[in-house]
Subunit: 248 residues, 2 copies
């Protein structure tokens, strides 16, 4: 049985999602829990990596249940959660077609980036937001964000621009005031190259601070060697949901 | 000059507010920062202690500015914040009458307790809420909460019942659904004896789980040796605000 898991984690205690020997990673913890449950570790596929310090509400992974060690899905969730640390949780398990692959079957990804405007440091959000500490002009940022929607050369915003050889599509960018002084940036796209969202948020905040006009974003969309001015910190970034065709 | 500070902190990394040698406390950090700024530590008064693991959005402290070392208040806030760790922040400083005392001048305190109902552990709220993991009946809890308002013998809910010798007044208890699966309990009272809110929340949750009727609260209000069934964990508790007469 091919099993799809939806996993949430507080990334602040991890060196990112992807397994690396010798450091604490989310995949490392999932592998450890799977090994406890099955006495062996099935190969694990994920919808994508997340950076060190970034979070996930709806990361998706899949694996094939080891032959002869099958478990009812609800018991599997309970067993995995009992063997996972308190900063990772399996929210859901589902049986999916054999051909399902967490990464390649995905149609799109939804990410949210959180920014705090207020001057004093936000003690409760310090691991879950970028503390900009200044008021941002949402109207200007929204104008700039509109320019990002569609198919563009986004290499100027990416951390490995040389690897971004084709144009990328961004379905939608939504900027909202979540509550007083907390602004969220929502992005939906088929996929995101490394650093893309953090580069975009860094640039949009430049616009929000009034240091650049919204139209300046068009210059960055001319692509590498143009570069975003800076990359917003990883701690503000949440992988919210990975979308698949309806039948999955 | 007598200075009133409003302080917020994430209590998860502290052994409570009150100074204790050899362990990390909020007061210890405040004293250290004040010493850095003034080269000496003025005596510090607080509106009240908070338990290990409990938080504050609006703790209030006061101290008298050392003679000859006076600082403009906005600079004082900046200097203190520069010398405080990332889980404590001074939100505000204000000059108050010499007679002001953070504890004795207070008229009332507002506390909020946060409970999470959902079955899976809430990775992002794990240090900021009590994970009950079951659905609670808000209507019953509200009925029970109504019985608590007014002047009563609350010793059954307190951790040191023998020290609660007089009746205590609770102005209001408000139970709200903050968002799906997150319930908040708000309490306003002139003061709270040790463990009172945690004992009350533990009892209200018994009612919310359907294990007890709302009227059972009246039995507990007969006072010690009656005892609340358990004390809700400290991590869900936030000191929201300390109220003073209007002129302060």
């Amino acid at each position: 049985m091919n099993v799809k898991l939806v996993v949430a984690y507080d990334g602040s205690g991890f060196h990112g999602y992807q397994y690396q020997p010798g450091v604490r990673t989310v995949e490392g913890e999932l592998r450890r829990a799977l090994t406890k449950v099955f006495d062996e570790c099935p190969k694990l596929y994920s919808a994508g990596r997340t950076d060190a310090g970034s979070h996930a509400v709806g990361q998706v992974v899949n694996f094939h249940m080891p032959v002869g060690r099958s478990l009812p899905l609800e018991r599997l969730v309970t067993a995995l959660n009992a063997n996972l640390p308190e900063d990772v949780v399996v929210r859901q398990a589902k049986s999916v077609p054999d051909s399902f692959h967490a990464r390649y079957s995905a149609i799109s990804r939804w990410y949210t980036y959180v920014v705090v405007e207020c001057e004093r440091r936000p003690v409760f959000l310090r691991k879950f937001a970028w503390h900009v500490g200044k008021e941002l002009d949402i109207i200007s940022m929204r104008k700039a964000a509109k320019l990002l929607e569609g198919e563009h050369d986004v290499s100027a915003f990416c951390l490995d621009p040389a690897r971004v050889t084709s144009k990328r599509k961004i379905f939608v960018v939504i900027i909202s005031l979540l509550t007083a002084n907390v602004i969220t940036f929502d992005f939906v796209a088929p996929g995101f190259a490394r650093g893309l969202i953090r580069g975009i948020v860094g640039s949009l905040v430049e616009v929000g601070l009034g240091r650049r006009s919204p139209e300046w974003i068009e210059e960055l969309l001319e692509g590498y060697p143009k570069r975003a001015p800076y990359w917003a910190p990883a701690c503000g970034l949440f992988l919210r949901e990975v979308m698949y065709p309806e039948e999955i």
